[in-house]
Symmetry: C2
Subunit: 315 residues, 2 copies
């Protein structure tokens, strides 16, 4: 029986998951991302942890496939131009890791894309073959799965919906250099920022005005409890997301939309707000997209990386 | 040697093209679309014309693959729910045509999608494996090709970019029931409508004001000649298209964008206007999408249908 190991490299930690072919998570581990030591050291530490896991689970390396998620674009040839947060540039992560692991196959992809695939395989998107995954966290990320496979895109930017410009009225610049990106509005950061703006303009009393260090969770909780300013904020911010999902649905026409990331802990309430906006737009879709919450949380990446490895092993 | 026949069914005529495996167009024909006689008659007439072509080119049917483009959505299972302009509903066009042709393989797809594939195979998109095709005609159509294949979408609506809502200020309704669809702005209809609006508002003299029955070609010609109102109109209308292409480029990240349809006869001038808008937005794309003009004109559909047939024959 073959196994696959999913590796999900973030800015702080690198997560590992060992899976059976059927998608059962057999074990997990993590190591710190010592990116300050340079790319080569990090890749060597990843390889060492993979070897340790293989020994721990009594596997020989040639029985394993590896999937490798990294926080930046990976193009359709497996090339990563820039992982700015990790100070790593201009390399082929899959090839380099494979070379440190006796040449066993390693497939690399962007972290939001592997999360999308993970949710399709064993999470909220289970049973679908095509989906748009939206990760609502500090920023807005996304991934596209078509015909059961990640769409990487020519430059590795497919699914980068967070940087679509949706609000020409946004006064602040986005980290990308754009203005009014979805990232600035439908994220935790965007919810807090817009709640403060609505609080300033509003004459209504709001439970939010008593909170010193406002978080997106505070706003979502208050919205669920019916606080008018919070409801207005969530509706405003998620309105841009719902419209954007409608636009995307005309481009790739997916079976489903899966909403993940930290904000998705707000659950069905948030999903309903987004869906209510989405459904106003795509008039040609007699059958609308199914909307689902992500299930795998922070493990989506190791699941998706493992699935990618499995697809690599299965010709 | 095998051959493939591309069939492109429009509202008025049905076009046929017979191709070699290498993509050489060996012959063409067309018959009227007698949709008033009902779907079965039309399909029988298509089958008869295919048989006639096979005899004319000394082919036996089992040597031929057929691709069939139809004016409406075809989902990933080959099902067509509604061809409203032809009054045909709820059928599997590929299966039904195949049954009239001794069971030889017939692949069906939406007409804009096969045009996209045709342009990739032998037209402006030659050499690319992924592209967004935009057809600027009476309306705005589109198709997505990824990894050398049409993306049909779960409901057959992938690439239906004409019905993305781009202009909340548009007072008129679109045929889809939406408001401010790209279709209403970046089409020939949209250019004429907006030229009239700008003419009314403008105090500047314009060569357009002397034209009784204004056409999009008049506006584009005047814009090329430097007429201020015409330039303003083209810039306004194509601004929405350029922005939308930027959005799409973050979703599917294609290698290239191919602009076709009747308006594309305005050539490099139009392409440059669209590109100039597009390039303002996708800040993460260090390498922008290549922009190309379509080459195949009204034959794009038969080319793409033939390519689809070829892919069906080549396992």
């Amino acid at each position: 029986m073959r196994h696959c190991i999913g590796v999900d490299m973030g800015g702080t930690t690198i997560k590992f998951g060992i899976f059976s072919e059927e998608g059962k998570l057999l074990g997990k581990s993590e190591i710190p991302t010592r990116w300050q030591q340079g790319k080569d050291t990090v890749l060597q530490e990843i390889a060492a942890e993979v070897r340790r896991l293989a020994i721990q689970f009594s596997l020989s390396l040639p029985q394993c496939g590896i999937g490798f998620g990294i926080p930046g674009p990976v193009n359709e040839k497996g090339y990563a131009g820039a992982l700015v947060n990790l100070n790593m540039y201009d390399f082929f992560p899959g090839c380099e890791l494979s070379a440190l692991l006796d040449g066993i196959p390693v497939a690399a992809a962007n972290d939001a894309n592997i999360a999308a695939l993970g949710e399709m395989w064993q999470g909220g998107g289970k049973g679908y073959q095509s989906l748009l995954f939206v990760a609502l966290g500090t920023g807005v990320g996304g991934g596209v799965v078509l015909d059961g496979k990640i769409l990487p895109g020519a430059r590795g930017l497919a699914g980068e919906i967070g940087h679509i410009w949706v609000n020409p009225e946004e006064p602040e610049l986005c980290s990308c250099g754009g203005r009014g990106c979805l990232n600035q509005i439908a994220s935790a950061t965007g919810i807090v920022l817009n709640a403060k703006r609505f609080l300033e303009k509003s004459s209504e009393p709001s439970s939010l005005s008593k909170i010193a260090e406002l978080t997106a969770k505070d706003v979502l909780d208050a919205a669920k409890a019916g606080d008018a300013v919070a409801v207005q904020t969530v509706d405003y911010c998620m309105g841009f997301l719902g419209k954007m999902i409608a636009d995307v649905s005309y481009v790739i026409d997916p079976q489903a939309v899966v909403i993940g990331g930290g904000l998705s802990k707000a659950g069905q309430y948030l999903l309903d707000v987004i869906f209510d906006h989405y459904r106003r737009y795509p008039k040609l879709q007699k059958e609308l997209c199914d909307f689902r919450l992500a299930h795998l949380g922070g493990d989506a990446g190791i699941y998706g990386a493992a699935k990618m490895a499995l697809d690599l092993m299965t010709p």
